[in-house]
C-alpha cells in the first residue's frame, strides 16, 4: 500500500509548459537547492547550490540561506532566478527563458523539523500505533507516554513539562473500550500544561485519535487548553491499525500551526508552489517510488546531521522511523554515547587514542558544518556512520513489527501488559534493495565508500542491490512527485539513483580461511568469472551499471544464499558503478578486537579499492 501524501498545489501549470523547476531542502545544517530542466525533451537534473541554513540566530530567517543557495545556482548557470527584491522569480508562460523558474517546492527539517510527543494507554499497543502515525508523517517523536511506560505520574508530568513539542498525538482505547485509562493519560497531559516549542502565543495542537466514545470528555477536559482536533481511532479494534487519518491531520496541522510560526516560513510559504513538506516525508515518498516501480522489498536510510531516518517497504507495507538523536553532526556525540567508543574504533584502521577520538567528535558537534578535510577524519566519520545506521536499523525494527495486542481480549491492564508479541518482520534475506541518502553518503568521495558503509551497517543477506542518491535530491524529488510524478521519476531514474551494484552475501559463519562458496559469473561478453571463496574475504568484480551477469552460487552446507543451507542458487546479478561485491565475511559479521584487526580492515578496504591504497597502506 503506497502512502498517500496530501499536497496543496498553488498553481495549475501543465507539464508541457514548464522549463525550469527549482526544489530545495532546508536541512538542519545546509540548505540544498537543485535545479531541474528539460534537456532534449527529457527532464534532467541540472545543477546544485548549497549554503548554511539560516534558521538560527543571528539570522533567524530561512530565506537568507535559501537565497544564498539559489545564488550559487545563478553563478553556475548564468540564469537569473532571484528578482531585485530577492524573491524567487516565477516565469510566466510567455516569459523570457533565461529568467526565473516555473515551479518551486521545498522540504524542510530546519530547526529540528516537526517534533511531536505521543501518548496512548498501552505502550506496545495504542502508544506504539501513535508513534507509527507520527513517524509516518515525518515527525521526530520526542517522547512516548503510556500508562505502563514505567514512569510514575509525577515523572511523566516532569517530562512533559520539560518538552516543548510542536504537537501532541493522543491515542488510547478501542472504540467502546476503556474510558478510564484514556482519561487518566489525558488528565496527566492536561495537568502538565505543555507549551508549544515555537512560542507561547498560540495553543499547542493536540490530535485525539483514541476511543471515539471518550471524545466529549476529552473536549471538556482539554478543549480550552489545546488546539484540539479529533480523528478516527488509530486502533478502532485491536486487530486493526488505522494510521492514515491521524497522519493526514498531522500534516495539516504542521502547515497551519508549526510552519507558520517558524522563522522565515511565512515568507517561504508564499514563495512555494506546493505545501512545505517535512524532509523525512519527502524522502519516504521517494523510497516508496522505488519500491513501487521495482516491485521489490526495500530498506532505505537517510543519514542526516541531526537524525537518522530508516524506511522499509516490505510486501507493500511502508514503515518509517526517525531516530531523533542519531546523526553525523549535531548528534554525532549521541551516536558515540549510544554505541560506545570501542564499537566505533573497530571500524578505524589506524591508531587513535580514545581521548583524541572523543575530542574530534565533540568538535564536530559544536561546529556541525565542518567537513572532513583529511583522509583520517573521513575514515573516522565513516566509522561513526556505520554505527549510526546500525542503531537506526535497530530502532526501525522495533516499529516494523507485527501488530501487537491482537490475540487477546481486553480485560485487566495487567493482562495486556503481559503481551509478548514483539518481533520484527524485517528479514535481510528478503530485502531486495538497500538505498542510501543524506549528506555523508551522497557526498562520499568514492561510491565504493558509501556501498561498503551500507553493507557493514545493514549486513545484507543473500543477493541484494544497493542504490544511492547521487547528490542528495531524494526529498526534493519526493515532494515534486506529488504533483509531477512523471517528471520526478525521469530525473530520479536518470540522475538521482546511482546503481552502486549488487552484493552476494552467504549467511553463516566459519573459521578464517575455510572454504565457503563457489561462484561463477557469466558476464555479458561471455567472459566467465569463476572463484572459490574462503571465509573472511570480500571481493569486487567489475560489472558496469545497466549490465547483468548470470550467476551460479554454490555454498557449503553451513551457508545459505537464499535457497536454504548448502543449496545452490542460479540467478541474474545486476551491475553498478562499483560492480558486484562478494562478501564472505559471515553473517552476522563479527568484528574482532585482536591486534591483527586493523590489518583485516585495511585488507577489506583495499580489496574494494575504497580509499586511496597508498594512503591506507601507510597507516
Amino acid at each position: 500500500m503506497r502512502e498517500k501524501e496530501q499536497s496543496t498545489i498553488k498553481t495549475n501549470k501543465k507539464e508541457e509548459s514548464l522549463k525550469y523547476i527549482l526544489a530545495s531542502d532546508i536541512g538542519s545544517t545546509t540548505t540544498k537547492t537543485r535545479l531541474f530542466t528539460k534537456i532534449n525533451g527529457q527532464w534532467r537534473y541540472m545543477v546544485s547550490g548549497e549554503s548554511p541554513t539560516t534558521v538560527e540566530a543571528p539570522y533567524e530567517n530561512v530565506i537568507i540561506g535559501l537565497k544564498n543557495a539559489v545564488r550559487e545556482i545563478e553563478e553556475l548557470t548564468g540564469l537569473e532566478i532571484l528578482s531585485d527584491e530577492s524573491t524567487i522569480i516565477k516565469m510566466h508562460l510567455n516569459g523570457t527563458p533565461a529568467r526565473g523558474v516555473d515551479f518551486f517546492c521545498t522540504t524542510s527539517s530546519a530547526g529540528g523539523g516537526l517534533q511531536m510527543m505521543v501518548g496512548g494507554v498501552i505502550k506496545t499497543i495504542t502508544a506504539e500505533s501513535a508513534q507509527k502515525a507520527a513517524l509516518g508523517a515525518g515527525a521526530i517523536v520526542m517522547d512516548t507516554i503510556a500508562i505502563d511506560d514505567g514512569k510514575a505520574d509525577y515523572e511523566k508530568i516532569e517530562k512533559i513539562r520539560l518538552l516543548r513539542p510542536d504537537m501532541i498525538l493522543l491515542a488510547g482505547g478501542t472504540d467502546g473500550g476503556t474510558t478510564e485509562l484514556v482519561m487518566e493519560i489525558a488528565e496527566i497531559i492536561t495537568a502538565a500544561e505543555p507549551k508549544a516549542r515555537l512560542g507561547a502565543n498560540y495553543d499547542l495542537p493536540l490530535i485525539f485519535a483514541g476511543n471515539k466514545e471518550v471524545r466529549p470528555m476529552i473536549a471538556n477536559l482539554m478543549g480550552d487548553k489545546f488546539a484540539l482536533s479529533f480523528v478516527d481511532n488509530l486502533r478502532p479494534i485491536l486487530e486493526v491499525e488505522n494510521i492514515e487519518p491521524a497522519r493526514s491531520s498531522i500534516h495539516e496541522l504542521f502547515m497551519e500551526h508549526v510552519m507558520s510560526h517558524a522563522p522565515g516560513y511565512q515568507e517561504l510559504m508564499k514563495l512555494t508552489d506546493l505545501d512545505i513538506m517535512p524532509t523525512p516525508a519527502g524522502e519516504g515518498i521517494a523510497m516508496q517510488l522505488i519500491a513501487s516501480i521495482e516491485r521489490k522489498n526495500i530498506i532505505g536510510v537517510g543519514l542526516g546531521g541531526a537524525t537518522t531516518n530508516v524506511y522499509s517497504i516490505f510486501d507493500g507495507r511502508f514503515v518509517r522511523s526517525v531516530s531523533a538523536n542519531l546523526g553525523m553532526s549535531y548528534s554525532i556525540c549521541n551516536v558515540m554515547k549510544e554505541t560506545g567508543v570501542k564499537n566505533i574504533m573497530r571500524w578505524v584502521p589506524f591508531d587513535i587514542d580514545e581521548d583524541a577520538l572523543v575530542d574530534t567528535m565533540m568538535n564536530k558537534m559544536i561546529r556541525p558544518t565542518t567537513i572532513p578535510f583529511t583522509l583520517k577524519s573521513l575514515l573516522l566519520e565513516h566509522a561513526i556512520a556505520r554505527e549510526a545506521i546500525k542503531l537506526g536499523l535497530e530502532h526501525h525494527k522495533t516499529l516494523a513489527s507485527r501488530l501487537k495486542g491482537m490475540k487477546t481480549r481486553q480485560k485487566m491492564i495487567g493482562d495486556i501488559m503481559e503481551l509478548t508479541l514483539k518481533e520484527t518482520y524485517i528479514d535481510m534475506m528478503n530485502c531486495d534493495i538497500i538505498v542510501g541518502t543524506g549528506g555523508l553518503l551522497s557526498h562520499a568521495p568514492n561510491r565504493a565508500q558509501s556501498l561498503l558503509i551500507m553493507i557493514d551497517a545493514f549486513q545484507p543477506e543473500g543477493i541484494t542491490k544497493l542504490y544511492q542518491d547521487s547528490v542528495f535530491m531524494m526529498p526534493h524529488l519526493g515532494v515534486l512527485s506529488t504533483v509531477y510524478p512523471k517528471i520526478a521519476w525521469n530525473i530520479f531514474d536518470k540522475d538521482c539513483l546511482v546503481r552502486l551494484g549488487s552484493v552476494i552475501a552467504p549467511v553463516g559463519t566459519a573459521k578464517q580461511g575455510e572454504h565457503v562458496v563457489n561462484i561463477t559469473l557469466v558476464m555479458p561478453n561471455n567472459i566467465i568469472f569463476e572463484k572459490e571463496i574462503q571465509f573472511g574475504e570480500i571481493i569486487r568484480v567489475p560489472l558496469p551499471e545497466g549490465l547483468k551477469a548470470k550467476a551460479v552460487i554454490s555454498p557449503e552446507s553451513n551457508f545459505n544464499i537464499g535457497n536454504g543451507p548448502g543449496m545452490k542458487l542460479e540467478t541474474t546479478i545486476e551491475g553498478g558503478v562499483v560492480g558486484v561485491v562478494i562478501d564472505v565475511r559471515g553473517r552476522p559479521l563479527i568484528l574482532s578486537e585482536n591486534s591483527d584487526w586493523k590489518r583485516t580492515l585495511v585488507k577489506w578496504f583495499n580489496s574494494l579499492n575504497v580509499y586511496p591504497i597508498d594512503f591506507i597502506n601507510e597507516l
Binding site: 508530568i157 507561547a200 575530542d359 568538535n363 567537513i371 583529511t374
Partner: protein, 385 residues
C-alpha cells in the same frame, strides 16, 4: 545585543555565498540583553532605569506541580462514586496530611481516608478515573538584570531589554548558567594549562582565566573552592565527561547542577586561547564581569558569553554587525590539520577544488604564519573583532 538581521540580510544580498558566522571578540560593543519571564507576570523596573547585575527586573509565579491521588482506589469505591465522598472540593486550599475524602461504610465500622500528600489546592476531581489532582503552591520566579546598564524597553508583562556598553567575547561551548564575579588571570600565557596548583582559596567567587586547557583536578578543585567561573581555550572531552559524571549526547547545556560555570573559547582538546580573547580578558583583569555557559548548537543557536561592562561610553559604536567572508577577513580554521590557526582570507576561488579526501569542494585560500594554505570554506570561521 544581536547581530542585526537588517545588516545580515543586506550583506547576504551583496555576497555570493553564505558562511558560518564566527565567534565575536569585541572590545567596544553595545550589548543588549532581553530578559524574559517564562510566563506573563510583573515588570519591576521602569524604562530608562539603571540596573545592576542582581537587580530583579521582573517576577511571576509559575503554577506548582500537579500531584495525582488515586482516591477511588484508596477508598475502594467505583470511580464514578467518588464525588459524594469528597470532604474537600475543587478550589479548596488544603494542607499536607489533611483529609480530603473519606468513606465510612458499615455504620462507621470501617473508616477509609484519603489524605493530601502536600500543601496546595484541589484542582480537579475526576469521576472518570477516580483521581484527584492537587496543585502544589505556586513558585515565585524572579528574573535578574544579569548585566548592569539601563532598561531601554519594557515588554509588558514579560520583561525588559537592557543595554550596556561592554567588551564582549563569545565562547564556543560552555556548561553552567549565568554568574558574575571579578576577573582573575590564573595563567600567564595562552598556552599555559590551568592546573589545580594555580587555584587557591582566594579565588572563591572569582572568574578565572586559563590558557590552553584545564585539567580534571583543577575543575574539581575550582568547584570545591566555589570559584564562580572559568574561561579557558580548550578542555578534553573526557575531562568534561568525568567532571559532569555523564556523557554529552548533544550540545544543549546551561542547566547543569554545578557551582562553577565553564566557558571554552576554542574547542575540545588542548587549544591555545586566541590572543585577541586572552589579551582582552587580561586588559580588564579585576573588573566585575557577567558570564553564561549556556550553549545550544541546534534550533536557535546559543553560544556562551563573557560580558565586561564598561563605565565609559563608546561613541560611534552601533549594534554589532558581521564582517562577512571576503578577502582581508580574519578567519580561524576549524578542522585538522590546521585546527585553531588564524589567518587572513586572500582568495575565494569560485570553482570546486579537490582536497585530500578526493572530495571536490568550495575552498578558501588563507595566509597564515606558516604560509598560504587552502582549506574548505566550510572549515573556517570569521574572527569577528
Amino acid at each position: 545585543m544581536e547581530i542585526t538581521k537588517d545588516n545580515l540580510e543586506k550583506e547576504s544580498s551583496e555576497k555570493a555565498f553564505g558562511y558560518t558566522p564566527g565567534l565575536l571578540v569585541k572590545k567596544e560593543a553595545l550589548v543588549r540583553k532581553t530578559r524574559l519571564l517564562p510566563l506573563p507576570g510583573d515588570v519591576l523596573v521602569e524604562k530608562g532605569e539603571k540596573v545592576d547585575f542582581e537587580t530583579s527586573v521582573a517576577r511571576t509565579v509559575i503554577p506548582g506541580k500537579p500531584l495525582f491521588v488515586k482516591a477511588a482506589d484508596i477508598l475502594g469505591i467505583k470511580n464514578e462514586d467518588l464525588p459524594p465522598f469528597m470532604v474537600k472540593h475543587v478550589g479548596d486550599t488544603i494542607e499536607k496530611e489533611e483529609i480530603i475524602a473519606k468513606y465510612t461504610p458499615f455504620f462507621g465500622l470501617i473508616k477509609k481516608f484519603v489524605k493530601s500528600p502536600a500543601n496546595g489546592v484541589i484542582e480537579s476531581i475526576s469521576d472518570a478515573t477516580g483521581d484527584i489532582v492537587i496543585r502544589e503552591p505556586p513558585v515565585s520566579v524572579h528574573v535578574k538584570a544579569y548585566i548592569p546598564g539601563r532598561t531601554i524597553e519594557i515588554i509588558p508583562r514579560m520583561g525588559v531589554i537592557i543595554e550596556t556598553h561592554a567588551s564582549f567575547i563569545q565562547g564556543i561551548f560552555g556548561i553552567g548558567g549565568e554568574r558574575h564575579g571579578e576577573l582573575v588571570m590564573a595563567v600567564e600565557s595562552i598556552d599555559d594549562e590551568l592546573t589545580e596548583e594555580k587555584i587557591c582559596s582566594n579565588h572563591k567567587g572569582k572568574i578565572l582565566v586559563g590558557g590552553s586547557q584545564i585539567t580534571l583536578n583543577a575543575l574539581r578543585k575550582a568547584e570545591k573552592q566555589d570559584v564562580c567561573g572559568i574561561i579557558v581555550g580548550g578542555v578534553r572531552g573526557t575531562v568534561l565527561e568525568n567532571f559532569l559524571g555523564y556523557k554529552l549526547g548533544v550540545a544543549i547545556t546551561g542547566y547543569e547542577d554545578i557551582n562553577t560555570t565553564l566557558i571554552v573559547t576554542e574547542g575540545f582538546g588542548k587549544m591555545n586561547m586566541s590572543k585577541s580573547s586572552f589579551n582582552l580578558l587580561k586588559e580588564f583583569e579585576g573588573c566585575e564581569v557577567a558570564i553564561n555557559g549556556a550553549t545550544q548548537i541546534r534550533a536557535g543557536v546559543i553560544r556562551p558569553e563573557i560580558i565586561i561592562p564598561q563605565e565609559k561610553y563608546f561613541s560611534g559604536v552601533g549594534e554589532m554587525s558581521s564582517q562577512g567572508m571576503r578577502p582581508g577577513a580574519l578567519v580561524r580554521i576549524t578542522s585538522d590539520p590546521y585546527f585553531g590557526k588564524i589567518g587572513e582570507v586572500i582568495n575565494l576561488p569560485v570553482n570546486l577544488q579537490e582536497i585530500e579526501t578526493k572530495s571536490k569542494v568550495r575552498v578558501v585560500e588563507v595566509k597564515t604564519d606558516g604560509g598560504n594554505i587552502i582549506v574548505p570554506r566550510a572549515n573556517i570561521e570569521i574572527v569577528e573583532s
